[in-house]
């Protein structure tokens, strides 16, 4: 459980830190690194990266959007999702980073198995 929590937290922090220097695909890198470095099964690799990144993204965006009274989120949600729902836009934003991090974590994990005897 501790390991799972640690992996989740590391995924989130890693994603945030990499995002300061790298473009949007830093979620792949964060997931890949967690998969490579944290020894877990496939499901745990996916979930920890997914949840860690999702929490960071959704938390950060929710805070940013709340300070903005969701002015922009409403307009963008209507524009691209055709829904007057900032929450949905926040969720979609979080899911994109989370899914990419999660699948990259499985890739990293399976790659590590190549070297395991």
């Amino acid at each position: 459980m501790i390991k799972l929590s640690a992996a989740t937290i590391i995924s989130g922090l890693l994603y945030f830190a990499l995002g300061l220097f790298l473009p949007w695909w830093s979620s792949f890198i964060a997931g890949l690194l967690v998969g490579l470095l944290m020894y877990q099964n496939y499901l745990a690799s996916f979930l920890t990266a997914f949840i860690g990144v999702c929490l960071v993204v959704c938390g950060y965006i929710f805070a940013v959007s709340s300070l903005n009274d969701h002015i922009l989120a409403k307009r963008i949600a209507l524009l691209i999702l055709k829904q007057d729902s900032p929450e949905l836009l926040i969720a979609v934003s979080g899911l994109i980073s989370a899914v990419t991090a999660g699948t990259a974590a499985i890739t990293g994990r399976s790659f590590m198995l190549f070297f395991k005897k």
Binding site: W25, V57, L72, L79, S93, T107
Partner: protein, 812 residues
């Protein structure tokens, strides 16, 4: 197993990377677009944003302080004028960068670079009417004048200082939506902006439609339907004014009858990108003799397309030389409509025709030679390179003639027979430094300074209004206007004979003007500037009815206050309906009407003639009259193919007021002879089909029918960035000229007391960021007809700390 998992997830990762990183699959690269650190979330400006800043920037000479008030209006205090323009550029870019670049890309015919092939026809049109050529000529003139050049250089440097400091993650939302990045600003882009405004305000023309109408109708009927002197004309310069005689009387060429007035063929050209003919404005100034304070009051509300971000950006510029306040154009330095400590100034569009087409005969399809004065003359060929997003650059060869660029030829847009083509002569192409006028007006102190400043302005023609603390009021229609023989330029002209060329320009001293008239007020509302005694031929696209309401009201007003002026700018009285309603009500055969139709008639009968937001009679009246226009004219104007346009609204109204047996009433396509009763009743029956539909949808109220909307510049591609469903009254021909997406883009009233009292509002907000609370925060108050008291900050206010935020800008 591990190889299989690795392979599958690697493929999934690659697929996700591709799908989320490109516009090939989804319309947007959602990976970056919704990313928390580089995507749109970085544009979500906190509603409690702290705009205090300390900046060190290269390029300024001294310290500049910018005080921002609670509406985010900057009050720039600079020791050097050029520093003020530098900071104005910086602030324009900070708040409106995407808009500035998009508008100048549009001016230059470069939209295909952003949106791809769908804009190619628009871009070609811009190039072919010579927008870039015109901007080059303007820039040369602006950069020849040292003061204009230094002001522009500083302004451009300020914009670029902001662009260079901008992180990619903070790019305006529209760049992220469309997937491109800003380029460096240049003085040339400011020149392009002036030409975009010139095209908006002096780019409307109907030579092709009028040529076809003349051919179809013959000269007598043409004059009836398309004459330009309404009986109810209330010109800018009052009827009865005595004008100087022109130096020489201009006569048409001897061949005009056969080659011009009775040409044999019609023209198969339809122009797709005409500016809105409703682009206009109201302005007036009343002298101290008519005001409660004893000081003049000036009012101005320019009517333009209502857009977000707004065309206007409010600003105060305080330097040792002057203290100007008003609205500016993001794209140009200085205040465009406003006032300083001594004078106030504003504009309405002149609407004069300054754009003519000449029919050119090329020798062959190479477009290298054209026939002119009995010989083949070489064209100058300009290769326009139009870059297209995700496609090969399009090369468009535009031939330039003695008149100007050939806009329409075989390659654009219609295949023309016998190597004929149409070249454009347009004052916008002339070299001029119109920016100089604003730089001088900003620091003008009296009537003489105003008179000198406006001489620099050549296009687009404007009614320039003026009031001063010294008590002067003035108006002058100003620009360089072509000198024409009667009817010259109404139709497409022969391009092989120099005798059809413009004969120069009307002397500037003969431009219509009125300084301190005995009436105690001056005004304009896009009407014809002068009555028929004005000694020059001045065709144009003129409004009739707003001027009548304004003049009626002003003539009867004394002890005028700012509140009276606010009421007048928001006046919804429909003077056209006042004149037209009796015709509809007197000639409708009521016995033929069903219950719904009787109700529509009853609504109109009981109407107070105001286009108020909740009024239903307006919708009934407008639909009925439009239906009558179509019923009366469609039969005669149905030529089956070539471009035509319905006569102006005043034509039918005035014809029927003069003669209810107006010759066009009869439908020539039926064996019966229809009279006015028949046609008025028929028109209502036809209109009632739509009116019933509106009634069932609960859209019979004027504001619901009109649905006033302030669109984003990307129009239907960004509807959620727009504000629609606004409950405005007003409309076409009404002083409150608010139409569906067009109307008062800035309302300003200035009382020339000491201190100056000024009020203003525009339908937008200071920020161009759809993620800012300052993006559209003025719109609700604008809809209600409210104003903000403009805070004219002085050094005492600075010491007293009467500001919300402060930007300190120092040389690096």
């Amino acid at each position: 197993m591990k190889y299989l998992v690795f392979s599958i997830t690697l493929i999934i990762n690659a697929a996700l990377f591709y799908v989320l990183g490109t516009r090939e699959i989804l319309p947007l690269p959602l990976g970056s677009f919704l990313n928390m650190q580089e995507g749109i979330w970085q544009n979500a400006e906190p509603v409690a944003e702290d705009f205090n800043e300390n900046l060190k920037i290269k390029g300024i000479k001294g310290a500049v302080n910018v005080y921002l008030d609670d509406r985010l209006v900057p009050h720039i205090f600079a020791e050097h004028e050029t520093d003020a323009y530098f900071v104005q550029g910086y602030l324009h870019a900070k708040n409106r960068l995407w808009q500035m670049e998009f508008q100048t890309h549009a001016a230059a015919g470069r939209i295909s670079e952003i949106v791809g092939e769908k804009a190619i026809t628009f871009d070609r049109n811009q190039r072919r009417i010579g927008m870039v050529y015109a901007a080059e000529n303007a820039l040369a003139a602006m950069e020849t004048d040292p003061e204009t050049k230094s002001s522009l250089d500083a302004y451009t440097a300020g914009i670029n200082a902001y662009i260079n400091s901008l992180q990619k993650s903070k790019l305006p939302v529209e760049y992220k939506l469309l997937g491109y990045e800003p380029e460096q600003w240049s003085n040339f882009k400011s020149a392009l902006f002036t030409k975009q405004m010139t095209n908006t305000l002096a780019g409307y023309d109907r030579d092709f439609e009028m040529t076809n109408a003349l051919k179809l109708l013959g000269e007598e009927n043409f004059q009836i339907l398309y004459g330009q002197l309404p009986d109810s004309l209330y010109p800018v310069i009052p009827n009865g004014t005595v004008y100087n005689k022109p130096l020489a009387e201009l006569l048409p060429p001897e061949t005009a009858d056969s080659l011009y007035f009775k040409r044999k063929d019609s023209v198969a050209i339809s122009e797709d990108f005409k500016p809105n003919p409703e682009n206009g404005s109201n302005n007036w100034a009343v002298s101290g003799a008519r005001t409660q304070s004893g000081k003049p009051i000036l009012a101005n509300d320019p009517h333009l397309g209502l857009t977000l971000p707004s065309i206007w950006y409010e600003i105060q510029i305080h330097t040792p030389n002057y203290n100007a306040y008003g609205v500016s154009f993001p794209g140009l330095p200085g205040v465009v409509i406003g006032f300083n400590d001594s004078i106030s100034f504003g504009f309405t569009n002149a609407g004069r025709d300054v754009k003519d087409y000449y029919e050119i005969q090329f020798k062959d399809q190479q477009k290298q030679q054209y026939f002119f004065n009995n010989q083949w003359i070489n064209t100058q060929r300009r290769i326009e390179k139009i870059k297209i997003k995700d496609a090969q650059t399009f090369m468009d060869t535009v031939a330039y003639t003695v008149f100007g660029p050939v806009t329409y030829d075989q390659s654009f847009k219609n295949a023309l027979a016998d190597n004929k083509a149409y070249a454009l002569k347009w004052v916008a192409h002339d070299s001029s430094n119109i920016l100089k006028m604003w730089l001088l007006l900003n620091r003008a102190r009296n009537l003489n300074d105003y008179v000198e400043a406006i001489t620099y302005f050549n296009a687009p023609g404007q009614n320039m209004i003026f009031a001063s603390k010294a008590g002067d009021i003035a108006i002058q229609q100003q620009a360089t206007f072509p000198l024409r023989w009667k009817d010259q330029g109404l139709f497409v002209m022969p391009g092989f004979d120099s005798s059809y060329m413009w004969k120069g320009y009307i002397p500037m001293e003969d431009n219509p003007r009125s300084f301190n008239p005995v009436e105690g007020y001056v005004s304009s509302a896009n009407q014809r500037p002068a009555d028929s005694t004005y000694p020059y031929f001045i065709p144009g696209s003129y409004e009739v009815y707003r001027a009548i309401t304004i003049n009626r009201k002003l003539a009867s007003m004394y002890g005028i206050t700012v509140d009276d002026m606010k009421s007048l700018q928001n006046d919804n009285y429909n003077v056209f309906a006042e004149m037209a309603r009796p015709i509809l009500l007197n000639y409708v055969n009521r016995a033929e009407l069903d219950n719904d139709q009787k109700r529509f008639v009853s609504l109109i009968e009981n109407w107070n003639l105001k286009n108020d937001p909740d009024e239903m009679a307006v919708v009934c009246f407008e639909n009925w009259w439009d239906s009558l226009q179509t019923t009366v004219f469609k039969d005669e104007l149905d030529n089956g193919q070539n471009s035509l346009m319905l006569p102006e609204k005043f034509v039918l109204l005035e014809a029927l007021r003069r003669d209810t047996a107006f010759k066009f009433i009869d439908n020539i396509k039926t064996p019966e002879r229809e009279d006015l009763n028949t046609q008025v009743t028929q028109a209502l029956k036809k209109a009632s089909i739509q009116l019933r539909g509106l009634q069932s949808e609960d859209k019979l109220k004027w504001s619901k029918f009109k649905n006033t909307t302030v669109y984003h510049l990307l129009k239907n591609n960004a509807t959620s960035f727009a504000r629609s469903g606004l409950m405005n009254g007003g409309g076409k021909g009404i002083v409150n000229a608010t139409q569906h997406d067009h109307g008062p883009s800035w309302r300003m009233i200035v009382e020339m007391t000491t201190p100056t009292l000024a009020y203003g509002i525009y339908p937008g907000g200071q920020s161009g960021n759809p993620g800012s609370k300052f993006y559209d925060n003025f719109i609700d108050d604008w809809t209600k007809g409210q104003y903000y008291k403009l805070f004219i900050m002085d050094p005492v206010d600075v010491k007293a700390g009467k500001f919300k935020w402060k930007m300190s800008i120092n040389p690096a």
